[in-house]
C-alpha cells in the first residue's frame, strides 16, 4: 500500500460524528492530514484557515448546507480546491441545486466503503497533480 505524503491536507465535512470519524480514521491510516468540520459554517471557516488540498463534502447539514460550502469554495478564484461530494443523496438531487461540473467526483456513502473513498480521493488528487507517492 502506497503511503501518501503527510503534506496532503484533507478536509472532511460531515455532520454525523460516527461517519466523520470513520472516514477520518481511514484517511489518517493512509497518512493524510485530516481536518473535520461538522457543519457548513465551520467548514467555510476551516477552508479559509487551513487551506486543505481536497475537500470531501456532505450535503445535508444543519444551517449551512453543502451547496453553500461548495459555492464559497468555488468563489475563490485564486486557488482551485478539488471537491468530492460524499453524501447519501443521489446525483439527481444534487444536480437540481448545483452542477456536476463544479465538483471533481460524486460518491454515495452507502455504496462506497471507506477504502474505496480514499482510493477515489487519491485518483482525483492525481488528476489535479497534487498527490505525491
Amino acid at each position: 500500500m502506497a503511503r501518501i505524503s503527510k503534506n496532503i491536507k484533507v478536509m472532511i465535512v460531515e455532520d454525523n460524528a460516527n461517519i466523520c470519524e470513520m472516514y477520518a480514521i481511514t484517511f489518517m491510516r493512509r497518512g493524510f492530514t485530516v481536518y473535520t468540520a461538522s457543519d457548513g459554517r465551520s467548514a467555510i471557516q476551516k477552508y479559509h484557515n487551513k487551506k486543505p488540498d481536497i475537500i470531501l463534502l456532505d450535503i445535508m447539514m444543519p444551517q449551512v448546507d453543502g451547496y453553500q460550502v461548495l459555492n464559497e469554495v468555488r468563489k475563490d478564484v485564486n486557488t482551485y480546491t478539488p471537491v468530492i461530494m460524499l453524501t447519501n443523496l443521489d446525483a439527481d438531487d444534487f444536480s437540481r441545486e448545483s452542477r456536476l461540473e463544479n465538483i471533481d467526483a460524486y460518491l454515495i456513502k452507502s455504496h462506497h466503503s471507506p477504502r474505496e473513498v480514499v482510493d477515489k480521493t487519491i485518483e482525483v488528487l492525481k488528476i489535479n497533480n497534487i498527490a505525491v507517492d
Binding site: 461517519i19 480514521i25 445535508m60 444536480s95 456536476l100 456513502k109 477504502r115
Partner: protein, 659 residues
C-alpha cells in the same frame, strides 16, 4: 302669275284698238286708201296678237255662255294631248273631272255677274291621266255689254302639285319621325310606347286607310289597327339590339290599289321605316340599360341619397325602409331630419364614416355613410350612400361583452391554474424532499454499519478474530451489500413512480463500462464457480455513446445480478455487445433455470418474481428488471427477454446511436 297679268294687259289694249278702229271707220268710211292702210295695219296687229296667244306658255280658251269651247290655243290642246281643232266646239265639261265641272259651273254663274274667278282645275288628258291647272277665268262682254262667254287662262301646275304632294309626304314623315322620337323619350311602359309608335308610323304612309303596322318584340306582337289577312307592299326591318335580333317592324297594306305602283316603290317609306326601326333599337337599348340601373338602385340594400345644400333631392326605395317614411315626407326635407349628426362641412371624400340616424318614428339607428361629390340635373350635389350597421354594432357590442366575460373567466381560471400549479410545484418539491430525506435517512445508518464492518473484514483485523465469529462478520458485511442494493432499488422505483427520475447523460465508452461491471462481479462469479464470457462483436476497442453512465451500469448490474442469482453452479453466462447500423445491442445469455414462455413478458413488471419448483426464494423484491427496463426506455431504447435453446434466458437491450 306674271304671265297672266301680261296677258291681261295685252287683252285690254287689244279691246281698245278695236274700239278706236270702228270709230274711225264710221267717221271717214269713204277714204278707201286710208281704210286699206287701216285694214293692213289691223291685220298685222291681229297676226301679232294671234301669235302672242298661240306662243303663250299658258293654255288660253274661250267659251260661250253654254261653256262650249270656241277657242283654244295650241298650248292648251297640246297639254291635254289633242289638236286645237279637235277641241273647239266641245263642251269644256267633257275634258274636266266631275269635281272641276261642278266648280266651273259655279264659276260661270259668278262670271255672268261679272266676277272673275280663280281656282284649281283638274283636266283629263287624252290618255286618261289627270292634269292639274290653275285656272283664271274672266267674263267677256259683247258690244252692248252683254255676257258673251268667258276667257280662261290655264297654267299647268301638275308638276308643282306633285312636288307639293311629295313635300307633304316628306313633312308627314318627318313629323312622324319626330313624334316617334317623342314617344321614345317619354318614360312610359314599354307596351304603351310601342303601341304609340306603330300608330304614328301609319300616319306617314299614303293610302292611310289601308295601312297596317305590326311590331314583334321579345315574342310579343303589337298591331295597328289590326293584323291584315294579306300583306301588300310590306316593308320590314329587324330590331337588332346589342347584336341580338329581338324582333321586327313591319308596315304594309291590306289592299292592293292600282295607283300604289306609281309611288316609286315606297322609297321614302322604306327610309322612314328603317329610321323608326333604328330609333326603336336605340330606345330599347337605352331602356334596357336604364332598367338595369333602375333595378340596381331600387333593389340595393344601400340607401342612396342625393343632396344639395343639405336638402334631399332624391332617395332610393331602400331609404324609405331604412328610415320608415314615405316618399312625400322625404323629398325637399333637410338631411338633418334623418341624420341629426350629419356634418355638411365634412369632406365628401368617399370614405366610410359612422353616424347615428333617426327614423321617422324617432328610433336611433347606427349607420355607415359614404359621401361623394356628384351632380344632379347639372348642378353640384352630394351623393350619399347609407348602410344600416345596427345589427353589426349590436353584434360588436355582444362580442365585446363576450370578450370581457371571456377575459374575466380566463383570468379567474388562470388564477386557479396558477394556484394549482403552485400546489403541484410544492407537491413536487415535497416529493423531491421526501425522496432525498428518505435516501439520506436510510443510507446514513447503513453507511456507518458498512463502513465500520469494512474495517473489521480487512485482513489485518480479520486475522485477529477467531472462528466462527470471523464467518459471522463476513456474512454480516455481505448482507449489508444486499441491503444497500435493495434501498437503492426502492428509492429508484419511487423516483420513477413520482416522475422525478432524470438522466445525466455524457459520452461514455460502453465497452469499458460493461467490462468494469463484469470485473466488479468477479467475487460472486468465482464464489459460484460460474463461467463468464465477454464477446465484443463490434470490432472496435471503444464504443462511445451518449448515455447516463451510472444508470446504464445499474441496468447491466441488475440484469447480471439476476443471471448470477438464477444460474446454477458451474454454468456459463455470456455477455455480447453488437454494433448495428444505428443500434447498440447488449445481450446477456445465461444457462439458468429459465423462464416459462408465458411469463417472459411479465418479468419486467414491478415486484415480479417467477416462482417455479426450481426457483426457491432467492432474495430481492423483484425491482431490478423493472428499473432496468425503465432506464433503457428513458434512453429511447428497448429491452426484451427470450428463452434460449439450451433452456436458459437471454435478456437483450438495444440503445439508439443517434438522438
Amino acid at each position: 302669275m306674271s304671265l297672266i297679268s301680261r296677258f291681261k294687259g295685252a287683252k285690254t289694249k287689244f279691246a281698245k284698238k278695236r274700239l278706236t278702229l270702228s270709230l274711225r271707220e264710221s267717221l271717214s268710211g269713204a277714204h278707201a286708201e286710208t281704210a286699206k292702210q287701216a285694214q293692213d295695219c289691223l291685220a298685222a296687229s291681229h297676226r301679232m296678237y294671234q301669235d302672242l296667244v298661240e306662243m303663250a306658255h299658258e293654255g288660253i280658251t274661250r267659251v260661250d255662255p253654254e261653256d262650249n269651247l270656241t277657242f283654244v290655243n295650241r298650248q292648251f290642246a297640246r297639254s291635254l294631248g289633242y289638236k286645237a281643232s279637235e277641241l273647239v266646239g266641245r263642251s269644256v265639261f267633257s275634258i274636266v273631272t266631275k269635281a272641276t265641272a261642278a266648280r266651273m259651273k259655279k264659276g260661270t254663274e259668278m262670271r255672268r255677274k261679272g266676277v272673275k274667278s280663280r281656282y284649281e282645275a283638274t283636266l283629263i288628258h287624252r290618255d286618261g291621266s289627270l292634269k292639274q291647272f290653275l285656272l283664271s277665268a274672266s267674263p267677256m262682254y259683247g258690244t252692248s255689254h252683254e255676257f258673251v262667254g268667258s276667257m280662261g287662262v290655264y297654267a299647268d301646275v301638275t308638276e308643282q302639285k306633285a312636288m307639293e304632294m311629295r313635300l307633304n309626304r316628306k313633312v308627314k314623315q318627318i313629323d312622324t319621325l319626330y313624334r316617334v322620337y317623342e314617344h321614345a323619350k317619354m318614360p312610359r311602359p314599354l307596351g304603351v310606347v310601342l303601341n304609340d309608335i306603330i300608330r304614328e308610323i301609319v300616319e306617314a304612309f299614303p293610302f292611310r286607310q289601308f295601312v297596317h303596322s305590326k311590331l314583334i318584340f321579345d315574342g310579343k306582337t303589337y298591331c295597328y289597327p289590326n293584323e291584315p289577312k294579306r300583306w301588300f307592299h310590306k316593308i320590314q326591318f329587324p330590331l337588332v339590339i346589342a347584336g341580338v335580333k329581338r324582333g321586327s317592324l313591319q308596315v304594309g297594306y291590306s289592299k292592293k290599289m292600282p295607283r300604289m305602283s306609281s309611288l316609286d316603290s315606297f322609297k321614302e317609306e322604306h327610309k322612314l321605316t328603317r329610321n323608326v326601326a333604328e330609333i326603336l333599337c336605340k330606345h330599347m337599348h337605352a331602356r334596357g340599360v336604364l332598367d338595369r340601373y333602375h333595378e340596381i338602385i331600387k333593389k340595393s340594400f344601400t340607401a342612396i341619397i342625393i343632396l344639395s345644400q343639405d336638402k334631399i333631392l332624391y332617395v332610393n326605395p331602400r331609404f324609405y325602409r331604412l328610415f320608415q317614411c314615405k316618399e312625400k315626407e322625404v323629398i325637399g326635407r333637410s338631411i338633418f331630419t334623418f341624420l341629426p349628426y350629419y356634418n355638411s362641412r365634412c369632406v365628401a371624400d368617399g370614405k366610410v364614416k359612422e353616424c347615428k340616424g333617426k327614423t321617422m318614428e324617432g328610433k336611433d339607428i347606427d349607420l355607415a355613410i359614404i359621401t361623394q361629390r356628384s351632380s344632379y340635373h347639372g348642378k353640384p350635389a352630394v351623393l350619399a350612400r347609407i348602410n344600416n350597421i345596427s345589427a353589426l354594432k349590436k353584434a360588436q357590442g355582444r362580442l365585446s361583452n363576450f370578450n370581457r366575460e371571456l377575459k374575466k373567466t380566463v383570468k379567474e381560471k388562470t388564477l386557479h391554474l396558477e394556484e394549482a400549479n403552485k400546489r403541484l410545484q410544492s407537491l413536487n418539491q415535497l416529493k423531491d424532499e421526501f425522496i432525498a430525506i428518505t435516501s439520506h435517512e436510510l443510507r446514513s445508518p447503513l453507511t456507518s454499519i458498512r463502513g465500520y464492518l469494512s474495517f473489521l473484514v480487512e485482513e489485518d483485523s480479520l486475522s485477529q478474530i477467531s472462528e466462527p465469529y470471523r464467518d459471522y462478520l463476513v456474512r454480516a458485511y455481505s448482507t449489508t451489500d444486499a441491503l444497500n442494493h435493495l434501498i437503492n432499488n426502492i428509492l429508484d422505483v419511487s423516483r420513477l413512480d413520482m416522475g422525478r427520475f432524470h438522466l445525466q447523460k455524457q459520452y461514455t465508452d460502453l465497452i469499458k463500462l460493461t467490462s468494469n461491471i463484469l470485473d466488479s462481479l468477479s467475487f460472486q462469479i468465482s464464489e459460484k464457480r460460474l463461467e463468464l464470457e465477454f464477446d465484443n462483436q463490434t470490432g472496435h476497442e471503444q464504443l462511445i455513446i451518449h448515455i447516463d453512465s451510472i444508470r446504464m451500469s445499474q441496468v447491466l448490474r441488475n440484469i447480471l445480478d439476476n443471471s448470477v442469482k438464477f444460474t446454477n453452479r458451474g454454468k456459463k453466462i455470456r455477455v455480447t455487445i453488437k454494433h448495428e447500423t444505428n443500434l447498440v445491442s447488449v445481450v446477456v445469455a445465461d444457462q439458468g433455470v429459465g423462464i416459462p414462455k408465458a411469463k417472459l413478458e411479465q418479468i419486467f413488471d414491478k415486484f415480479m418474481q417467477v416462482k417455479t419448483t426450481q426457483t426457491k426464494y432467492k432474495g430481492g423484491v423483484g425491482l431490478g428488471l423493472f428499473i432496468a427496463k425503465r432506464i433503457v426506455e428513458l434512453h429511447g431504447g428497448r429491452i426484451e427477454a427470450a428463452k434460449n435453446s439450451d433452456g436458459g434466458t437471454s435478456i437483450s437491450f438495444h440503445l439508439p446511436l443517434q438522438e
